[in-house]
Symmetry: C2
Subunit: 111 residues, 2 copies
């Protein structure tokens, strides 16, 4: 099996299964810096990256945006002075799909 960050997002449709607890137990250790949070009942993967200033932060936002466009899967990106918080989840299934873990792993490669 390829490493998570080398995998490609599959097309995700409404009704696709969310990751199970067993899958999370296997996937989560591969993105150790990420946290699973629950907002409005929706599980999401989130990580805040730190930078020296605003310019570096927004440059990183651009890189994540380009990755999102390339993979056809889009995060929420909160850009602030010296930090960017990236949050992945799958709107269509209102929760976490394997794709989100793949995208988290790919995001980690951008720093």
């Amino acid at each position: 099996m390829n490493k998570l960050n080398e995998q490609i997002c599959e097309v995700c449709r409404v009704g696709a299964p969310q990751v199970t607890d067993e899958e999370i137990a296997w996937l989560k250790p591969q993105v150790p810096e990420w946290k699973i949070v629950k907002n409005d009942g929706i599980k999401k993967l989130t990580r805040t990256y730190s930078f020296a200033n605003f310019r570096e932060a927004i440059n990183f936002t651009q890189k994540v945006g380009a990755l999102a466009e390339e993979q056809g899967h889009h995060p929420a990106l909160l850009t602030e002075w010296g930090k960017v918080t990236v949050t992945w989840w799958t709107h269509k299934i209102r929760g976490l799909h394997r794709n989100d873990f793949i995208m988290a792993a790919k995001t980690d490669l951008l720093i």
Copy 2:
């Protein structure tokens, strides 16, 4: 007096006064689409702009980022598929400064 969007941010130091209710009554109507919200006791100015897709949203994020760098005053920018939420406040005074209204007015010019 120049229009708000033609004004320039002044250097803001710790201890500078927050805008008064009287000033807000004069400034707020000049940025009618913006809302004043309170997070963790800090008053902020926020507006969500809608776009056709992620690419347009992140392009707008870049424009606001360039404006922020130019003026030396930085917002929080939440970029999502089809929308960007821009939030201005002044960290140093933990609230709203006249600069934030100037930046809101300038942000409106970018769309």
